[in-house]
């Protein structure tokens, strides 16, 4: 019976600490508090341990900085904790010059004695890279994104050249490397804090009570209810005009909209497509939209009959009325996709010709492939809402009706999310709906990650390994020259279209309702919510 008592005591102590920190801003006369209605609990406060956007919103995007970052609202890379960097001739050595005078946050168990320096960069990356690092296994030690971006095989060593210079040595040239460093998992934590907590015997504190250099200081987290932050006075880009930032955790999207109308939150995310019109009509709410960095697709399992035949895939593509899907599923907040890349990414091939909706031609092509009488198949529909597909079951219903018109009888299949992911990775499906939101704005992150041979039985749900495509994508990966890479990727997209392993359905338009008093809100192409730079009108 010891456990619950300690548990309660800890909770009480944390709550008391939170009180001490928070009473000040709450009682200030004109404190500006922005409330953001978020979708769920953050899994933790160290972004390198997790992969979900909800966690990143509550950690990397407010509390931490990275060596390089994406300019808010764009996919452009800008200097952050690194002022500048150089790449060696062979593309295997990156040297970063660090920014001086950057301060860390403090909390009641830690006050920084020094500014940010090379040790912090080494700590943050070596923790993830080196298996014998004292922090490698702390808090579970699953550096999922680090591994997913192949950083573990890519980075051979990280050197501290001097206090303000860091060098990364790579095992091979990798064009997307700098973009990777802008991702959430590459956030920089305080080495000094880590050392202190390690000495105190509570290393996991580093991940629970975060200390960063970012624009907001972590104050308190109440599971299922709120996450609270306050502005960091010494932020190196200047203090945020907001004094307090509160995440009100609200999983249901209709409830989030209701709260927004009631003035209970200023910003929210993932609105119901069905509510978009009402939001646009509401004078107190600005509906901000931009094309998302995503693609929603239907993948054919190219290992299974009859989808081994490109003609069948092509024919079914032509049978799908994508415009009807855009209307009914996306409620017009989407555009028809013809490439596996969204048009917001460089190297998007404008010249690609889509398989236009033509049931007659589809029927003819099916007959040519020997399926004049149609066949039976399945459509797997995801059980969850995603930006690239707000309602997969409804999309499946529409496709089912479209295919029925060309004689193909499809059964809609759904599983709970974890089972869906598992079974589809194991290629149990015949056709399945899924999608992707970009991580770093690099075409490689779509084409190689989703359609490369290495990703078969992984994120390549079409199980499609096609040599001509693979060669183009691999060549682009080790090429530094952007024009040359663009050419290779454009060609790859044509090969993709010819072979049709997917029916590319849509790129969604990401919509975010914000209240009219919110100043300068920008939608993050990566799906994040970034509050530095945002203000509230009085």
């Amino acid at each position: 019976m010891k456990k619950p008592i300690t548990g309660l005591a800890v909770t009480a102590a944390v709550a008391a600490a939170g009180l001490a920190l928070a009473t000040a801003p709450a009682k200030t006369a004109h404190a500006k508090t922005l409330v953001y209605c978020s979708e769920g609990d953050p899994s933790g406060f160290n972004p390198s341990l997790f992969t979900d956007g909800t966690t990143f919103d509550a950690s990397s995007r407010q509390i931490y900085n990275r060596l390089v970052e994406f300019e808010r609202g764009t996919t452009n890379i800008i200097p952050a904790l690194a002022e500048s960097w150089e790449v060696s001739e062979d593309g295997q050595t990156y040297t970063f010059k660090l920014r001086p005078g950057v301060k860390f946050h403090s909390n009641d168990s830690f006050a920084p004695s020094r500014d940010f320096n090379a040790d912090d960069v080494l700590y943050s990356f070596e923790r993830q890279l080196l298996e014998d690092h004292p922090f490698h296994t702390v808090s579970g030690g699953t550096y999922e994104y680090f591994a997913a971006m192949s950083m573990d095989s890519l980075v051979t060593s990280i050197e501290k050249v001097d206090d303000m210079t860091v060098r990364f040595n790579l095992s091979r040239p990798e064009a997307p490397f700098i973009a990777n460093l802008g991702m959430d998992f590459a956030s920089v934590l305080s080495a000094e804090y880590a050392q202190q907590m390690l000495d105190a015997g509570t290393p996991e504190q580093v991940d629970l009570a975060p200390i960063g250099t970012g624009p907001f200081v972590f104050v308190d987290f109440q599971p299922g209810a709120t996450v609270r932050f306050r502005a960091f006075d010494d932020y190196f880009r200047g203090r945020s005009p907001l004094d307090n930032l509160v995440f009100a955790i609200t999983p249901d999207s209709s409830v989030r909209f209701a709260k927004m109308q009631a003035g209970e939150c200023h910003v929210t995310l993932n609105p119901n497509p069905a509510d978009l019109q009402a939001m646009a009509d509401d004078p107190e709410i600005d509906l901000i939209q931009r094309e998302g960095l995503n693609v929603g697709y239907l993948a054919y399992n190219t290992e299974k009959e009859p989808y081994t035949d490109a003609r069948v895939r092509k024919a079914l593509n032509m049978a799908i009325n994508k415009q009807a899907i855009i209307d009914a599923v996306f409620q017009d907040a989407g555009t028809i996709a013809k490439n596996p890349l969204p048009p917001t990414i460089w190297s998007y091939n404008e010249a690609t010709v889509d398989d236009d909706y033509d049931p007659g031609a589809a029927k003819a092509l099916l007959a040519e492939a020997g399926f004049g009488d149609g066949f039976e198949t399945d459509i797997w529909a995801m059980p969850v809402q995603r930006p690239y597909n707000p309602n997969a079951r409804r999309m499946a219903e529409l496709i089912q009706a479209d295919w029925a018109a060309v004689g193909v009888t499809a059964e809609i299949v759904s599983f709970e999310w974890p089972e869906y992911l598992k079974r589809s990775k194991d290629a149990e499906h015949q056709t399945l709906l899924l999608g992707w939101t970009g991580d770093n704005g690099d075409p490689d992150n779509f084409l190689a990650t989703l359609l490369g041979c290495d990703a078969v039985r992984g994120s390549n749900r079409a199980q499609w390994c096609h040599q001509p495509f693979e060669e183009l994508v691999q060549a682009a990966k080790v090429t530094a020259d952007v024009d040359e890479r663009t050419r290779l990727y454009e060609q790859a997209q044509l090969v993709f279209k010819e072979e049709a392993p997917w029916a590319t359905i849509a790129h969604s338009v990401v919509s975010q309702p914000v209240r009219a008093e919110v100043i300068d809100w920008k939608i993050d192409p990566f799906g994040g919510n970034i509050f530095y730079g945002v203000d509230l009108a009085e």
């Binding site: 619950p4 939170g18 591994a147 599971p223 299922g224 609200t250 209701a258 598992k422 992984g458």
Partner: protein
């Protein structure tokens, strides 16, 4: 009396064991695991999967995992959430007060409205009041609770703007929560308007969660009342010329309440089941929502621990109800 309680307690132990086994089997038999969730659309490399399996202890045979789990449970260790690596105890107690508070207000609401309604309906059997109460009670009992909640939100929060949409208190209030009960903590905080805000957030979830218990209590009270009023001793009391008020309140009510208490006790299970849907819709940061989310994430330790603790709560409440019942009605002790 003591032997009765002891006998009942002895029955609890195998039940408790059974619950650990059922909870364990249930979560482990669900296809897909925490690592699949972690991987998302991308998936997890076989190497990382192997490492994680070993680390989470999932690489051992199922029976070994179970023995380890039970062993830990009896040392008071419910394990660590695979999601955020926090102890399950801590996760549970961070959310339990929210569920408890809502359940208490819901059952109080059900009793305060249902009991008098049932009594009056029973006394005035066949009257218009009786018919309308019973009609309403049956409707409430037949209500799909999630639909009811959405209608209430749509009507009272969205259309009329009378109550907040979700959550436990407006986010502008931020204070220490020594008890975890928002009503008490908001009073203790001394912040102006905090209590009011907490109350207004509680109203809709309380009504929604209290609807079914309310219907059950009203119906039970009524039929129990009718039965008692037709008993001989009541007729005698009436014949003796005792005032109807006295007859109902002193003689009949005491006896009529016996089955009602049992029913209220049995509602605890219903409340927890209802709480799953109610909490999900009202974004109430309680146990029900946590369970649903944990199942969705295949967070085995959290689901197992949560089920175990919920079941323990139900078992304890049932035990208390049994004992109370046997005190009020001694016959039951010998009957079973």
């Amino acid at each position: 009396m003591l032997s009765f309680v002891l006998r009942r307690l002895a029955l609890v132990i195998p039940t408790f064991f059974g619950v650990t086994l059922v909870a364990f089997l249930l979560v482990h038999l669900i296809p897909g695991d925490a690592i699949d969730v972690l991987g998302g659309e991308r998936g997890v490399s076989p190497e990382l999967r192997a490492r994680l399996m070993a680390e989470l202890g999932l690489d051992k045979p199922l029976w070994q995992q179970y023995l380890i789990y039970v062993g830990n449970v009896f040392q008071g260790d419910l394990g660590i959430s695979t999601l955020n690596r926090k102890p399950v105890w801590e996760e549970f107690f961070a959310r339990f007060p929210a569920t408890l508070e809502l359940s208490i207000t819901a059952i109080l609401f059900a009793i305060i409205v249902g009991l008098p309604a049932g009594i009056i309906a029973g006394v005035r059997r066949g009257s218009a009041f009786d018919h309308s109460v019973m009609g309403a009670a049956l409707t409430g009992y037949s209500m799909p609770i999630f639909w009811w909640a959405l209608l209430m939100i749509f009507f009272f929060s969205v259309t009329l703007g009378w109550t907040p949409v979700s959550g436990r208190i407006s986010v502008i209030y931020f204070f220490d929560q020594p008890t975890g009960f928002m009503l008490i903590d908001s009073l203790l905080s001394g912040e102006k308007g905090a209590f009011r805000s907490a109350v207004s957030h509680l109203i809709l979830p309380t009504i929604v969660l209290g609807t079914i218990p309310l219907a059950v209590i009203a119906r039970m009270t009524r039929s129990s009342m009718i039965e008692v009023l037709s008993d001989d001793y009541i007729r005698t009391a009436r014949a003796k010329g005792l005032s109807p008020f006295l007859v109902v309140n002193v003689h009949a009510l005491r006896n009529a309440l016996i089955p009602v208490i049992t029913v209220i006790g049995l509602q605890v299970g219903t409340l927890l089941a209802g709480a799953i849907l109610t909490e999900t819709i009202f974004s109430w940061p309680g146990i029900g929502r946590w369970m649903i989310e944990s199942i969705g994430r295949r967070d085995y330790p959290s689901v197992q621990g949560g089920i175990l603790l919920i079941a323990s709560a139900v078992i304890i409440v049932n035990l208390v109800v049994d004992v109370l019942y046997s005190i009020i009605n001694p016959r039951i002790r010998y009957a079973s």
